[in-house]
Structure formats: structure tokens, C-alpha cells
Amino acid sequence: MSGKGGERGERKMETGIAAVEKVGGRSTVTRCFSKYPLKLIVPNKVGSSKTDAVWIYTLSYGGGIVSGDRISLSIGVGDGCTAAVTTQASTKVYKSVDSKCSEQVLEARIGRNALLAVIPDPVTCFSTARYSQKQVFRVFSDSNLVIVDWITSGRHESGEKWEFELYRSTNQIFLEEDQPLFLDSVLLEQASTCSIAERMQEYHVIAMVIILGPMLKHVQNQVQDEVKKMMSRHFRVPTPTAGHYMRSESQSGPTRPALVASCSAFGPQAIGVVVRIAAVTTESVYMFLRHHLATLEPFLGVIPYG
């Protein structure tokens, strides 16, 4: 297979390729290629041996993404297979040199009745960093997908809060080749009218969780119900009457929620659910993810973010 012109051409383009197929009835990584600055690691066993799932870890040399790095990863999950793609630690994006932008691209194809969980640690962009990320997923109507995409405000221990120059994250899901199901792009750019920090106020993390597919209907329903219950608590206070809105600093009153989230269904027959979260601490989001994705344990072998 190697050495042919087309193959070599393809390898020049991609920094990483992974394919998961059924071998002897079990999900198996049948192809795994990576080159600098990306490294793919496939441990022999993660979690219970009864679970049919493979785990793929993505690592960057030097522990982070350097200005100007371009990483592209292509993943194929065959029919009936289960795969999880994750990181070992948060992805650090270092400062931009000469205004160069770093870029990560993921293209994944998920087969029929297959499950792909993309469950990384958050991205942390350092001061002046410029970073762009694009993830494109091609699914069938009975494919299943879990995507966690999140970012922290920077090295807040060092006082860096939303000091990067540019962050763009695009997530696209296409059904049956070309029908757009989910097209989302978040762009955070320092602007003269309003800095990113001003826009984010006291929140240090924003996260998005997508849960899609018939196999995960119970997970979707549970998340929707629980987010609604959790958030409704903050809205129980009836609105004050006219003139009482403008509270003085000294007046005590309920404060903004430390974690605010909303959940929306999307797609034909509400095939998917998306949760968007803003939180003051990274740990609270880890807890949220651990709690709401715990029902994935039977599929993946371990509790994500456990």
C-alpha cells in the first residue's frame, strides 16, 4: 500500500490518519499514521475488555501548538465500530510569531451504527496567540457522535485572561454526504470596540457539547432535562417591578450563575442536541462533562473526563 504516488501525496497533506474497522468482530485500529507536529497513540486497552471501543490519543510534540503549525487529522470509523479521540492534557497554543496563525483540522467519517466520541481537554491560547480549528464530520442517519469543543481563558494563574488575538472554532456535520446538519463557527477576536475579556465578563471557560444519533437518545434526553432543571433554579425569582432594576453596588442580591448553560435540539426529528456552557472555573466544566457523559461508559469502557 505504501510507496504509491497517490498515497505519498495524501500523506504529504495529512499530519495524521487513523482508520477503525471491525476485525474479528471487534473495533480495531487498522491504520494509524502521524508525523510531526502530531503524534497518535493507540493504547492496547482502555477500560473494560468487554467494551468494544478503541481509544486514540493525540499529542503534540513540545506539549503544545507552536505559531504557524498546521495539523490535519483524518479519521474513519467503520460501520458498527466505536472510537474515542482524546488528548493527554489541555492543548496549549503558544504566542503568535509574525502574526502567524496555527491551525488544526479534523475530518471524520462515521459509518452506520458507529460511534465516534471526540472528547479532548480544553484548548488554552496564550497571550497574543492566533488559532483556528475546523472539524468536519460526515455521518449517516444512524451514526452516533459526541463532540466536546472547549476553550479556557488562558493561563489565568499568570493573570492571562482572554488575551489571545484570535480564536476560531468551526464544527460542521453533514448528513449523507452533503446535507448540512450542523454548521457552527465561533470567532473570538480582540476588537477595538470590545475586548474578548469584556465580552466574557467573569467567565473563564466556554464549552460546546454535541450529542447526536439514535444510540444516544437517552443521553440527549437526560442532558436536556438536567440542564433545564439546573438553569430554571436561577430564573425562579420573579422579575422586579419598574425602577428596581438599577440596583446599587451595595445592595445584595442573587449573583450570576457560576456555570450557565443552554441546551438545544437540532436536525430533522431532533436527531441531535447541543449544549453550550460558560463557566467561571475549568473544574466545574470537567464536573459537568463527567456527570453528563457518564452514561457513555458502557460504550467507551471508561467515564469520559473521569
Partner: protein, 253 residues
């Protein structure tokens, strides 16, 4: 006055008259009536039912004072510019049914926030119904509505419908995009008065104060392809999405 000077003056007058004619023809004058009617809040499109997440923002204590309100409205304008202006632009530049339908499908997948997606479809449907009734000189509006209403294939999202109508009425795309930002600002400010955050006079003062910021946003985000549509205020989006969790509500979104 010498005959030469008289002739010169007459020439100048003639030039001024023709320049004036080129600038504003009777057709342009008539267009202004259509334009003003389209942007008038009295047009029965149901815009008053939506607060762009302001009601949820107030209840979640993201907006507690006048500075918060101003900041919130600016964030809404920024998000409208970055996410929706490309749809208004493309629809007004290519005001044909086929292009509109593609934009409608794309926006359906792009408005991942269920609350704003439903609000967009509701406002767009109402706008198309009203426009099809009013602008009888544009039969394609009624035809398009009749074709797609029954099938359920289209969602009739607001931004592409607005752009399409502007384009069919002959407005240039720059005006169309500016107009969309204007009606967005108009509706949030109106919601603020109905939420008792600000009085009607204060609201009018605020609207004029923010106008230059709205113009900045318009210039920044105008004339972009839909592939570049993105959201720039995640907090606003999250809060907007919480509208369904409100204990008591005045607005639909």
C-alpha cells in the same frame, strides 16, 4: 450681466437640474415609501414578540443597569453582524427563489440555538406573508410562499427573507444590510422599554447614542460570504438559549 455670463449661469442651472435628476428619480422617491414601510415597527411581522435574549439576560442578572443594557445591545448587534449579515447580503444580491432556498437551508443548520432558530423562522414567515400581500407588484413573493409553505421543506428564516425582499424591491445590498441591523436594534430597544428597563424617551436617546456603533458593526461585517458566518458573542447565545427556562416570560425569545 453680459450675455456670456448669463449663458454660463444658465448652463450651470441645467447641469444642476440633470445632476439632481440622476441622483433622485421619481422611482427612487417611490422606493423610499416602500423602504420606510419595511422598516417601520408598525409592519405586522411580530417582531415585538422577541427580545433577542434580553428578557433571559435580565432574569439571569446579565443586565441589571443602563450600562449593562447598552453593552448587551451592542453584543446583540455584533452577533447579528457576524452571523446573519452574510445571509442578508447574499439574499439581496441574488434575489431569486433558488438562491434563497439554499440560504434558508444553510441558516437552518447554522442557527444551532433552538430559541433563536424558532424566532427566526417565525419572524421570517410573518415577514414573507406580509410582503406577499403588500408588494403585489412582485408576484414571485406569493408564488414562492405558496410553493414552499405546504411542503415544509423551507423554514423561512428571517435574514434571507429580509434580504430577498430588499433585493426584489430594488434596494442595494449595502442599504439592505444596514436596514437589517437597524430593525434588530429597533426591536431590542423596544423590548427594553417593555421590560421596564428604560423609558420610551430614554430608549430613543440610547438608540441614537448607539447608532454610530451599529454603523461600525455594519461596515465591519457587511459584504461577506455565508461561509464566513460565525458567532462572536457566545455569552449572548447561551443566555438567549435559556429563554425556555424562564419562570415567567413576556416574550417568545
Amino acid at each position: 450681466m453680459s450675455e456670456q455670463t448669463q449663458n454660463c449661469l444658465m448652463d450651470c442651472d441645467m447641469e444642476e437640474m440633470s445632476a439632481d435628476n440622476v441622483k433622485t428619480s421619481p422611482a427612487d422617491h417611490l422606493q423610499q415609501w416602500s423602504q420606510w414601510q419595511l422598516l417601520d415597527s408598525i409592519l405586522p411581522t411580530g417582531g415585538f414578540a422577541h427580545s433577542s435574549g434580553l428578557e433571559a439576560a435580565v432574569q439571569a442578572r446579565f443586565v441589571v443597569g443602563p450600562e449593562d443594557l447598552k453593552f448587551y445591545i451592542i453584543q446583540v448587534l455584533e452577533n447579528t453582524g457576524s452571523l446573519l449579515l452574510p445571509y442578508v447580503y447574499c439574499a439581496s444580491k441574488f434575489p431569486d427563489v433558488e438562491s434563497w432556498f439554499k440560504l434558508d437551508r444553510l441558516l437552518e443548520a447554522t442557527l444551532t440555538n433552538e430559541v433563536s432558530r424558532k424566532a427566526s423562522a417565525s419572524q421570517g414567515s410573518a415577514l414573507l406573508r406580509v410582503a406577499a400581500s403588500i408588494y403585489v407588484e412582485i408576484p414571485s413573493l406569493k408564488q414562492m410562499r405558496d410553493t414552499y409553505l405546504g411542503s415544509g421543506a423551507a423554514s423561512f428564516h428571517h435574514a434571507p427573507i429580509f434580504g430577498l425582499i430588499c433585493g426584489l424591491l430594488g434596494f442595494d445590498s449595502s442599504t439592505s444590510q444596514r436596514a437589517y441591523m437597524f430593525i434588530t436594534m429597533r426591536d431590542v430597544v423596544s423590548a427594553a422599554t417593555r421590560l421596564n428597563l428604560i423609558g420610551p424617551l430614554g430608549a430613543s436617546v440610547l438608540q441614537h447614542q448607539i447608532a454610530h456603533v451599529a454603523e461600525q458593526m455594519t461596515k465591519k461585517w457587511m459584504d461577506r460570504p455565508v461561509e464566513e458566518a460565525s458567532q462572536t458573542s457566545p455569552l449572548v447565545d447561551i443566555v438567549q438559549g435559556c429563554h425556555g427556562y424562564l419562570f415567567s416570560r413576556l416574550f417568545c425569545s
